[in-house]
Symmetry: C2
Subunit: 356 residues, 2 copies
């Protein structure tokens, strides 16, 4: 079959360790399923600041653009936290999203059986929770004009939040498509009782809904959604929302599953192009010690196979392998009840490879 090009960005902290395990999985998938991949590594985030003087070097962007998909580990760390804006890993993150046109961020929040107890929610409340947050990723207050000015009450800072019909429509359409393939329920989250952008959002979502008569749509105000996620998490199927609200709600949703360290995410653009990364961060405190859990990154690769390449067989095989290894009781230290029996990052990777 055709050779697929994957840009691999290891990044900072535990990024290189978890990405290395995902690459082992990539290799075994080639052997088992006959797919062909070509990987190219690129610098991004803190390490790119150190080595190239910018979080998002041109070369990295070129590598990503010429690839079919991007696999990202994690970026950031205290070392760069006090840098000026242009020299911060987050700036690279926002830059790459915009430059690659990744307007949609999917964060499935599911409960792993072996991690049920890690949640702070009661098991009976968590039961059956399986939702996905579809977050708009290249618009809103993240990318609007920002500036300072003098006011009569001292210096003033301004952020601008803007959304146009096209931006809302494409993310709404994608969320409806996803909901139609799942349990057919979509919650559109806004603050239409206060914000003009939210009123536009709601108008467009209602218009798009006409094309999806089988998807049940509800509008939820963002403050109410923050509450309902706590009260009835299992009643949500797909949640679609704008950039800033999505940042907050997707983290809340991920945390309540108790499985945050194992969750995968996808950032998609037009067509099948996508960037895939674990939901967890770069965890600089445990970097380089073989303590990191590579499962979220490996599952992000599975998501890439499913969403970008349409390799459902390989995606399913990876997910099954992960489940099998967990069922057999293997745990990295972050999810181990008995830390003394915890296995290392590469041992976990090897077990998953063997199971595939």
């Amino acid at each position: 079959s055709e050779v697929k090009k994957i840009a691999v960005i290891a990044g900072d902290g535990i990024g290189p360790e978890v990405v290395a395990e995902a690459e082992k999985v990539l290799k075994v998938t080639e052997e088992v399923f006959g797919y062909k991949f070509e990987t190219e590594h690129a610098l991004f985030g803190g390490i790119a600041i150190d080595e190239k003087g910018t979080p998002l070097p041109e070369e990295t962007l070129d590598i990503c653009k010429s690839a079919d998909a991007v696999l990202l580990g994690a970026v950031g760390g205290p070392k760069w936290d006090t840098n000026p804006k242009e020299l911060r890993p987050e700036t690279g993150l926002l830059g790459i999203r915009k430059a690659l046109g990744l307007f949609s961020n999917l964060r499935p929040a599911v409960v792993f059986d072996c991690l049920k107890d890690a949640s702070t929610l009661k098991p009976e409340v968590l039961e059956g929770t399986d939702l996905i947050v579809v977050r708009e990723l290249t618009g809103g207050i993240y990318f609007g004009e920002k500036f300072r000015r003098q006011s009569e009450q001292g210096e003033e800072a301004v952020d601008t939040c803007a959304y146009n019909v096209t931006e809302v429509e494409r993310i709404a359409r994608q969320a409806f498509e996803i909901a139609a393939k799942r349990r057919g329920k979509l919650a559109s989250v806004d603050k239409a009782n206060v914000l003009e952008t939210s009123r536009l959002w709601r108008e467009v979502v209602i218009r798009v809904a006409a094309d999806y008569p089988n998807v049940e749509l509800e509008h939820v105000l963002v403050d109410n959604c923050a509450m309902q996620l706590l009260r009835r998490p299992s009643s949500f199927d797909v949640i679609v929302t704008e950039n800033m609200f999505g940042d907050i709600l997707s983290d809340e949703a991920a945390m309540l599953t108790g499985s945050i360290g194992m969750l995968a995410s996808a950032s998609l653009g037009e067509g099948s192009y996508g960037l895939y990364e674990p939901v967890h961060g770069s965890a600089p405190d445990i970097a380089g010690q073989g303590l990191a859990n590579p499962i979220a990154t490996i599952l992000s690769l599975a998501l890439m196979f499913r969403l970008t390449f349409g390799y459902e067989d390989a995606a399913a095989a990876i997910e099954a392998a992960v489940a099998q290894v967990l069922d057999a009781g293997h745990r990295t230290s972050d999810i181990a009840t008995d830390k003394s029996k915890a296995i290392s990052t590469s041992e976990m990777g090897d077990l998953i490879v063997a199971a595939i």
Copy 2:
């Protein structure tokens, strides 16, 4: 002693019922403690739209302005939800906050012993949770310029978020004062890695912190805060944040206590002036049936005594009376385990009055 003037706004839904019980408590406080109150009722919200054609009539504003404090029941309901903006209860709410200069919204989130089990969080996680969210209430994206314009990608909506130094400083100072009188811990929540307003916010908070060396300050990103509230709610003491983030986080915090129906809130301006209201809404579905729980409104009155009038004795007496009635097992239907034994709104009010 001096006569204190209280503007009473019953509002919509269950508003009139719960406010009536708080007024009974007001009367008995006069008798027991010798304080003198003068109340004046005013129309606001949905009922004001129906009777006066505007959610916030001039007359109501005058009554509030000439009073020392405002007691508010609840506003809003489906009847007005599809009205144009100027004819919606929320517009009145935003208008009254701005007109009265209520720049600070305090929402204490505490766990009532009798409601511990109502939370979806595990009891051991909830244990000891007692926090207060200090939300900036008259600035940010709520009050910035809003408009529509044509763009190349269709109609575009814009909201503007602005904060100046004075606005941030006064709310920060108040939050530090509150933290200093509590457990001495302040979490300032922002999105300084993305927003210019958040960077200004953080700069000012750091500057104000110099005046409060005994308060331990941490900066928490809003997405992380949404997670940490779930993971370690009891570790928070005071949380201070801007308007939009405060809307979301205060609702999340209230919901995780399981006691949302019993929580009081205060909106304060310069000096001792304040507006006090329950955190819960107007609950139109149960309005007029004597089913509403008046405790949150009665506790809002206690907060008024403490924060606006400095009547700590009366505030403490009301809180003790509420605790005593609950300890004795009395419940309105919203908090009753055995609904058949539930008492009515006015029975609950009478019991609290008797206990004072």
